[in-house]
């Protein structure tokens, strides 16, 4: 396949979003940088959260970036996969918990 919607090289161009709207881009990247600095959570913990969220939102750029970032921060394979399972559990649970809503409706409209 010659063309895909996702191009790995585009990740390096993330900063280019400023070309069309510099002010908001600057605010976003400042905020982004601050979020990932060590605070009450370590940078390592934040990287693992980002890795899990990347899978939840299914962002290939983010998965590439935070897999590498997690490795750089000394996270091992087992820990990374457990983080992905956390994302999967929440995604699966989010669907299943709506089963209660379905049950409520069923009970409301049936004899």
């Amino acid at each position: 396949m010659d063309k895909t919607y996702y191009n790995p090289d585009d990740l390096k161009k993330f900063g280019d979003i400023a070309e069309f709207q510099p002010e908001l881009a600057e605010k976003f990247f400042d905020y982004y940088g601050s979020v990932f600095k060590e605070g009450a959570l370590t940078e390592r913990e934040k990287s693992l959260i980002a890795l899990a969220v990347s899978h939840a939102v299914q962002c290939p750029y983010c998965i590439d970036a935070y897999t590498k970032d997690s490795l750089q921060k000394g996270v091992d394979e087992e820990q990374m996969m457990e983080a992905v399972h956390v994302a999967a559990a929440i995604r699966g649970g989010a669907s299943l918990v709506h089963g209660v809503q379905m049950m409520n409706k069923v009970k409301e409209v049936t004899m």
Binding site: R44, K68, K73, G74, E77
Partner: protein, 346 residues
Amino acid sequence: MIKSLQARQEPLAKSEAQVAWLENEGGGERFSSKLQDCGLYPLRATGVTVLQVNLGKMCNQVCKHCHVDAGPDRKEIMTKETMQQCLDVLASTDIPVVDLTGGAPEMNPHFRWFVEEISALGRKVMVRCNLTIILANPKYHDLPEFFKKHQVEVVSSLPAVTALRTDAQRGKGVFDKSIKALQMLNAVGYGQEGTGLKLNLVYNPSGAFMSGSQEALEKEFKSRLSSRFDIIFNQLYAITNLPVSRFLEFLVESGNYDAYMDGLIEAFNPAAAEGVMCRNTISVGWDGYLYDCDFNQMLDLKVAVKNGVHIKDYNAIALNEREIVLGQHCYGCTAGAGSSCGGQTA
């Protein structure tokens, strides 16, 4: 066990082929021009406080990232005569630290004699111990006691606190043996408060990525090694893998070379460049030739000192203010927080 590049007759086994690759492939701004931009070119030595001596390429391990291309199939080791020439240099200078490396330096038959002689001169000895050598043969089992006797600072590699990552880089079974060796070092007092016996670990990323914060990694290693294996150590040195020898081959073969070099160049840090270790180090090859660092040694880039490129012709005045020989691989020591044999530099 994999073989060295030399035994496999790989083109990148030759230093000239590596230099040609580094200088011609991948592009990127020349390292020297980057230094020029921040007023550091020509880069000059600021004296010599560390004599790093490579006792040979022979090793009991064949790590995938080894910049020495060391292994059991390498037979090049330093002779006693060359060691004596190193001792003569030490006696005629005030170089305070001798950093012994290899291969596995302990496999050199004159290793213990050399350590004793350096100690007798009142100089501090550091040994880059791969840990598994302590268990490799009964004749090495007493190394922790020997190190202790001579107050040798032990610096050992451990890329992860799991077998999966460690063995992937350093060979099957290396993690379990390393843990046992660390426990043996702890047992004689290494890493223990109040003993003065320093045990420092080296973290080399086990792949085509740079190291994260040294401080955060040290915290993580200390916590996990202590809780899982009851192991303690002093400091963790985060060291960037330089694109030399087997790590260069890995980058090329895995298709990661361009992205890795781009990452190093992008992360160039002038503060790290100012503190590079070649400025206060002389690296001695197994055959006595002199280099600015262990990486230049493997690329056969000898010191730029006329008539003084061998330990027998050591010219302290010229070496103390020599111009450092540079190449694209130097980006490895200046990326991010910097990298040296003693960890981050900026």
